[in-house]
């Protein structure tokens, strides 16, 4: 039971962290919870489908289908998160005004609502499929259903606690800075996902000349430690990164930061009464 809960917790952790950041980022948007629910629902449904077709996915592309699939899911998620971060940096002022109840204007554009649903769905899809496969395997191997259920419930609860504490922790950040913080968190999430995608592509045989390990910090923070896992989910931390992972990470970061500067270049064009 404990082993089950630990495995479930590990898989949930990343979803919980992504979910909490995205939910804080979107907190001033109308119907946020509806879109979060849509994302979760789509992700769960998708997980079952992916688990069902796991073998076919795995056999695709000369046995490298799973790697390509994971890389594509991650890159798609990274792309949407990156776009959301850019949108947020552009609308930070309106969002903050809204948060202070200075403005009653509806924040323009639905883009972030679709994007949070997509991001959540993709995050759930990847880890969720593993949960489905794992629990299905447990049931198939004749482990008692009650012990599986109890273990899963424990793992889920632990994951939700971590996610919820992050969510409420982020909400405590002062109104002035909350969107700056979440925008940066989204940027790091995006870069981390891009780097993880690079790892899968390297596993599939891409970038062979850049698939050497750049450094090893596993003695300080190991990938299997709790801190390592949280840092991985938030910032894409890995103890033994490949050169190509670091390259993906840095290029993504620079691209987003430059794009953010370009987008916000015009010095305060349309502020909606956020005088402070």
């Amino acid at each position: 039971m404990l082993a089950t809960s630990i495995i479930i917790f590990r898989e949930i952790l990343e979803i919980a962290i992504i979910l909490s950041v995205v939910m804080v980022a979107a907190k001033e948007l109308e119907h946020r919870n509806r879109w979060v629910a849509i994302g979760l629902g789509a992700g769960i449904l998708g997980s079952c489908l992916v688990a069902f077709f796991a073998q076919s996915i795995s056999n695709a592309a000369e046995g490298m289908g799973q790697e390509f699939f994971n890389a594509m899911v991650l890159l798609a998620a990274a792309f949407v998160i990156g776009m959301t971060a850019l949108w947020m940096s552009k609308h930070a002022k309106e969002l903050t005004a809204h948060l202070r109840h200075v403005s009653n204007e509806v924040i323009q554009g639905n883009m972030p609502l679709y994007s949070i649903a997509i991001v959540i769905a993709l995050a759930v899809l990847r880890e969720g499929a593993e949960i489905v496969l794992f629990t299905h395997g447990m049931i198939a191997s004749g482990k008692s259903i009650s012990s599986i259920l109890a273990g899963s419930a424990m793992g889920f609860t632990a994951g939700i606690i971590v996610g919820a504490s992050m969510y409420f922790g982020l909400l405590k950040i002062s109104t002035k800075h909350v969107f700056t913080v979440t925008t940066w968190l989204l940027i790091f999430l995006c870069a981390g996902m891009a780097a993880t995608a690079a790892q899968y592509l390297a596993s599939a045989g891409w970038f062979e000349s850049l698939s050497y390990q750049l450094w090893n910090t596993s003695a300080i923070i190991s990938d299997s430690s709790m801190v390592g896992k949280v840092l991985h989910a938030l910032f894409g931390y890995t103890a033994r990164p490949l050169a190509i992972q670091v390259a993906f990470y840095v290029v993504t970061l620079i691209t987003l930061v430059v794009a953010m500067k370009i987008i916000n270049y015009k010095p305060t064009s349309k502020t909606t009464g956020a005088a402070a």
Binding site: E62, W206, T238, A239
Partner: protein, 108 residues
Amino acid sequence: MKSLILSAIAVLLSANIATAEVKEYKIVIKDHLFIPAQTKIPAGQKVKLIIDNQDATPEEFESHDLNREKIISGNSKGIVFVGPLSEGSYKYFGEFNEATAQGVIIAE
């Protein structure tokens, strides 16, 4: 759009993997154990591990040392490319049965 382009590239590049000549090593999963638990491979070479999961349950081949993570369904095989590695030992484990499923790759 981005993923569309990527999948196109994916198809193109996956063809290259098949043509590259790499040594193959077979690792069997049975009763949540890796057999053999120790596999010696040449250092500085890319090799192909064929993980043959003979259990009815799925397993996740995972290694922090090797930077690899792959689910292998029950009663099926999965391919994991590793290396080129520098000399040393690299641990891996089955995430779904970590208590028993432990193995190591030794590059020499």
